[in-house]
């Protein structure tokens, strides 16, 4: 018999039946770091870039060990990477989709061949449990590449009318940088964009991936990875070659970036925050819901903490089971195969310590349990309860690995509490009653809802958020559109005006004086602000003259102000639940009724357009086209939303298209009737209610339409406020309870709107002074409007009995 290998401890273990260490070897990760001489640079244009005279920061695993040093990029490195991506874009985007598909498939194969290196490196450096990286991230990365390869191969047919944006600047957070990068580079590369990714220092897995991609050969510059500090973010974002910045990280940083990018060339997509939500009702399988909590917060699967809402009648039972379960959680080195949670480094540890201390001082109860090493930076699973809802801690984002539990009484109240935060990322609903689960699933204002599950992901399911979680999407069809723009639209240019004063823009309304009596055909145009279904006198009790094309006075319109905007938004909010709750068919019927009313009023409308200088024929055509637009959107909205089938899940995932809420629209000066209707129609068709500022040059046509809306629509659906354009824009853009804003006007106004939207991070669509051809189908009623007018929600419905 060969030499005995058994250790001395078997006897003790036989009695105690404890778990032992299950270390995963990280030799290959270290060997890879050795190939870089333990000094990581940047991967640009298919080559390692290790410029001299750069600061370097140590790359450590979260426990202590110093693994390598990382060079910090500087502005010139950023410029070099963007230039490489710009050069690569020409070739990459010109290739047919099939070629890109092949390349992505080859990258997936390379990942498969080197997966051990990837998962050990990622787990070693981030400290996350290797199980999640190995069975989760790395597998998902390959699925993402395969899914997007298929999308690329069908791009010419399926995405006709769209073209890739160009170079994408991608900014990644310190945790989950590898997976977050995969979610974003896959769609970007698939549609033909090229990427410059900025990763926080000491994140080698994205660099390794860039190397694997670069070594594939023919397209070296399509994926460039720089590592550098947060101070590089604005530098990358404002590089002239960058067409879009996809930011993934902390809410405050995203907000700051939104402000600093106002008026800049690059578009901005934000994915902010990490908190998730779990709703546990009294009809739930409580034990399974407890596992859902573990999946969400204590298994290294999700990046952040969890807000847990428990129905009062099962509070005691749920808390008991939760605490019992917490006692069995194990934490340790990420590369241990038998731990639930790893450590996430000193910064994460500080953050959670501060949160828990504050929660305690504000009266919360804190329960901690589990088999956790006592030294820093390990932190035990933590359950916080009895946190007073009004305390400051209850408002901030819950950090990893904390669960904040609070009770609710009814499903209605659960929705109020759950929707009462500015965050709108993901949530799960635990209920065995289908009706209740769907009611909650549809009612939650978040991007993803899982019914009786938590944290499931799939490449074909769009993932994103709403409200202050940012409104960018990845995965599924929505992820592709993030990196596409309608073909043939003029390039988005910088409209930055350095001397635009955000504090005073549109603040004061120039006073208007009477300009003489109105001369014109009867009937006299309607007068007032159309708010809450009727014409009202403006708060300022003053009016502004509107002149026709020959300079004569056409009429007076009301001078709306801040108070009128407030009233209009309120009216729109009141009308919203009823309108959004209507079936698409019912909404379409009202749009059709409005179309019919416009046609009846055709002669009046045409004569008003004539006075603004249009030919009679053209004026009549504009009225007819407006009516057609209303009918077309009514018809289009009825074929909305669809079911996705996901690998590994029995049951459907619904991709819902939900209304945004109250949409503010500042209409362009040109096409006073057609543009107004073209914007109104999709907004209403998808269930939004609107506050509109009509054409400043000729608001009278919009007011004519209001006369019909007053008879056809329920009150408050569409509200039209006339007045000083800049002032009204300012009021709407700064309004925190406006869910989205479209602005068609000056460059300065656009810059202001983009800047001001940082307040509640409402999605904005600003024309930046570019005119649109509203009479053309693509620009006046194209799919771009359909995309922007609603938000997606993915509703996961696992089945089984």
């Amino acid at each position: 018999m060969a030499a005995t290998r058994a250790g001395p401890r078997a006897r003790e273990i036989f009695t105690s039946l404890e778990y032992g260490p299950v270390p995963e070897s990280h030799a290959c990760a270290l060997a890879w770091l050795d190939t870089q001489d333990r000094c990581l640079g940047h991967y640009v244009n298919g080559k390692w870039l290790k410029p001299e005279h750069r600061n370097s920061v140590p790359c450590q695993d979260p426990i202590t060990e110093n693994l390598a040093s990382c060079l910090q990029a500087q502005a010139e490195d950023v410029a070099a990477a963007v230039e490489a991506a710009r050069m690569a874009f020409k070739g990459w985007s010109a290739h047919p989709g099939v070629v890109r598909a092949q390349h992505l498939t080859r990258l997936a194969e390379v990942i498969q061949k080197h997966q051990r290196l990837l998962w050990t490196l990622e787990s070693l450096v981030t400290g996350r449990a290797v199980r999640e990286v190995r069975d989760g991230d790395v597998q998902l990365a390959q699925q993402l590449l395969h899914y997007h390869a298929i999308q690329a191969s069908t791009q010419e047919e399926a995405l006709a009318g769209w073209e890739p944006m160009g170079v994408i600047g991608l900014i990644l957070p310190p945790t989950f940088s590898f997976l977050e990068m995969m979610w974003r580079i896959c769609p970007a590369l698939a549609v033909g964009c090229t990427v410059v990714a900025l990763v926080p220092p000491a994140s080698p897995a994205p660099l390794l991936l860039a190397q694997l991609a670069g070594e594939l050969g023919p397209f070296p510059g399509i994926l460039n990875v720089l590592s550098g500090p947060a101070s590089l973010v604005p530098i990358l974002a404002s590089q002239p070659g960058i067409r879009k910045v996809a930011f993934c990280g902390a809410p405050e940083e995203g907000r700051a970036l939104r402000r600093s990018l106002a008026g800049e060339c690059a578009e901005l997509g934000l994915a902010l925050g990490t908190e998730s939500l779990l709703l546990l009702t009294d009809t739930a399988d409580v034990d399974s819901a407890v596992e859902g909590v573990v999946d969400a917060a204590w298994s290294d699967r999700g990046p952040g903490g969890l807000r847990l809402l428990i129905q009062e009648s099962v509070w005691d039972e749920a808390m008991r089971r939760l605490q019992e379960r917490m006692g069995r959680l194990r934490s340790g080195r990420g590369l241990d195969g038998a731990v639930d949670m790893g450590a996430r480094g000193a910064a994460a540890c500080d953050l959670v310590q501060r949160f828990v201390r504050e929660a305690q001082s504000q009266g919360a109860q804190v329960f901690q349990a589990g088999d956790v090493p006592s030294e820093r930076p390990f932190y035990p699973p933590t359950l916080v309860s009895n946190l007073p809802p009004a305390s400051p801690c209850a408002q901030v984002e819950v950090p990893w690995p904390v669960v904040v539990a609070s009770p609710f009484r009814t499903a209605k109240e659960a929705l109020l509490v759950a929707n009462g935060t500015p965050r709108g990322g993901s949530a799960s609903v635990w209920s065995e009653r289908l009706g209740q689960a769907l009611e909650l699933g549809y009612g939650l204002q978040v991007g993803t809802v899982w019914i009786n599950a938590h944290g499931l992901r799939d490449p074909s399911v769009p993932t994103g958020g709403c409200k202050e979680s940012g409104c960018s999407w990845h995965g599924g069809p929505d992820g592709l559109y993030e990196y596409l723009r309608p073909s043939g639209t003029p390039a988005r240019l910088s409209c930055l005006s350095k001397n635009l004063n955000y504090d005073t823009f549109g603040l004061a309304v120039p006073s208007t004086l009477p300009a003489g009596p109105e001369i014109g055909p009867s009937p006299a145009p309607p007068y007032g602000l159309f708010v809450g279904g009727r014409f009202q006198a403006p708060g300022a009790r003053s009016s502004r003259p509107i002149r026709d094309s020959s300079g004569n006075l056409h009429g007076y319109v009301a001078e709306g102000g801040a108070k009128d905007i407030r009233g209009a938004v309120e009216a729109a909010h009141q009308a919203f639940p009823g309108w959004a709750g209507q079936s698409p068919g019912a909404r379409a019927a009202l749009l059709w009724a409005l179309a019919a009313a416009l046609e009846r009023r055709k002669s009046t409308l045409a004569s008003r357009l004539e006075r603004q200088g249009a030919e009679l024929k053209a004026a009549e055509a504009e009225v007819e086209l407006s009516a057609r637009r209303l009918r077309a959107w009514g018809a289009r909205v009825q074929a909305q939303g669809h079911t996705l089938q996901v690998a590994g899940l029995r049951g459907p995932v619904l991709r819902l298209r939900e209304p945004l809420g109250v949409l503010a629209v500042v209409c362009p000066d040109e096409w006073p009737l057609l543009a107004f209707v073209s914007l109104l129609a999709p907004a209403l068709a998808y269930g939004n209610t609107v506050v509109m500022v009509p054409s400043a040059a000729c608001p009278l046509l919009a007011l004519e339409v209001c006369q019909d809306m007053a008879t056809v629509f329920p009150a408050g659906l569409a509200n039209v406020v006339t007045g000083d354009r800049d002032h009204l824009t300012r009021c709407l853009a700064l309004h925190q309870d406006v869910q989205a804003m479209w602005y068609f006007g000056s460059a300065q106004g656009s810059q202001f709107v983009e800047w001001a939207s940082a307040g509640n991070l409402k999605p904005v669509w600003a024309s930046r002074g570019c005119p649109r051809a509203w009479d053309q189908e693509a620009e006046g009623a194209g799919p771009e409007l359909g995309l922007r007018v609603a938000r997606t929600k993915a509703l996961w419905l696992p089945m089984g009995d």
Partner: protein
């Protein structure tokens, strides 16, 4: 085995509100195997522990006294002595928890174990095993005869039709009668979970059966036997029962547990869902026939660093 479960009054409110979410339980079952493993000495020690939980079983039509004798001898000496010595475990008295046979073979087993000089209990299946589709009277008589022959543990099957038609009181009464027929012998109630239709039924049947005694997943004769999802539901029922009554009820998965790796997963499943106090032969058994030889092979590999040939290890 520990003192008898004295039984509990039937309380149908315990099962009226129960919810079991099937897909969520399936996910948990998948996870539990990926989240806990043991290696090296821990693996060896855990495997030896697993041996002490085994109800070494033969339930074949062709069982005779000779293979029962061999089985009993293997129960007494489950792991080669030199391997145990190498692990310094030879003085721990490691045997399987019991041998499990058909009622007609109980006498053979008792005799063989006596000859081997040990007091490993003999478990007998009974009560119309495996279908349970005989008259109650003969099922009870079968139990009494097995006890008379010297079986100290009786594995009975429940009447699945009572579960499928929701006759919980009748089920409870039957099990109570089984319990009474057992006398001093221990009762394990086989739920035959593969034939109960839903996990909710598994939970309810577990609750009712625990109002009598030990619960066991399956006979080994159904198409689906011991699976993790079913076990999770039963273990949760055991914990709920313990929280309600303070009684610890034992658990026995049986059928389809063949590899050493499986047995480790079962141990960690019980450890995770119920805790260490359930990891003793009084409260946890594994019904298996071929599992033991795979464990022995793994121990051999652990001790020697080599993979064993068929003839290196004695057959059972």
């Amino acid at each position: 085995m520990s003192a008898h479960n004295r039984g509990t009054e039937l309380d149908l409110s315990w099962i009226s509100k129960i919810q079991v979410n099937h897909p969520a339980v399936l996910r948990r079952a998948e996870q539990i195997q990926a989240r806990r493993t043991v290696k090296k000495e821990w693996q060896a020690a855990w495997l030896l522990k697993a041996v002490t939980f085994i109800d070494l079983t033969t339930l074949s039509g062709d069982d005779t006294s000779s293979n029962i004798q061999r089985l009993c001898y293997k129960a007494k000496y489950p792991i080669r002595e030199d391997l145990l010595k190498a692990l310094n475990m030879h003085d721990k008295g490691i045997t399987t928890a019991a041998v499990c046979v058909y009622p007609a073979r109980v006498c053979d087993a008792v005799k063989a174990l006596k000859a081997a000089g040990c007091n490993i209990p003999v478990a007998s299946v009974a009560a119309g095993f495996p279908a349970g589709q005989t008259h109650l009277k003969t099922r009870l008589e079968e139990i009494r005869l097995a006890v008379e022959d010297g079986a100290t543990e009786i594995d009975v099957v429940i009447n699945r039709s009572l579960v499928l038609t929701g006759q919980w009181e009748a089920l409870y009464d039957e099990i109570r009668q089984f319990r009474k027929a057992c006398g001093e012998a221990h009762l394990k109630t086989i739920l035959a979970t593969g034939e109960l239709g839903t996990l909710t039924n598994v939970y309810k049947a577990s609750m009712i059966a625990m109002m009598a005694d030990f619960i066991k997943t399956s006979t080994g004769k159904e198409t689906v036997n011991a699976t993790f999802p079913v076990a999770i539901v039963m273990l949760r029922a055991i914990r709920d029962f313990f929280w309600k009554t303070g009684n610890k009820i034992g658990f026995k998965p049986a059928g389809g547990i063949r590899s050493a790796k499986d047995s480790l997963a079962w141990l960690s499943l019980v450890k995770e869902e119920l805790g260490d106090e359930w990891l003793k032969p009084e409260l946890f058994r594994i019904g298996a026939s071929t599992l033991l030889s795979d464990i022995e092979r793994q121990i051999y590999h652990h001790v020697t660093g080599r993979y064993a040939a068929y003839h290196d290890l004695p057959m059972s």
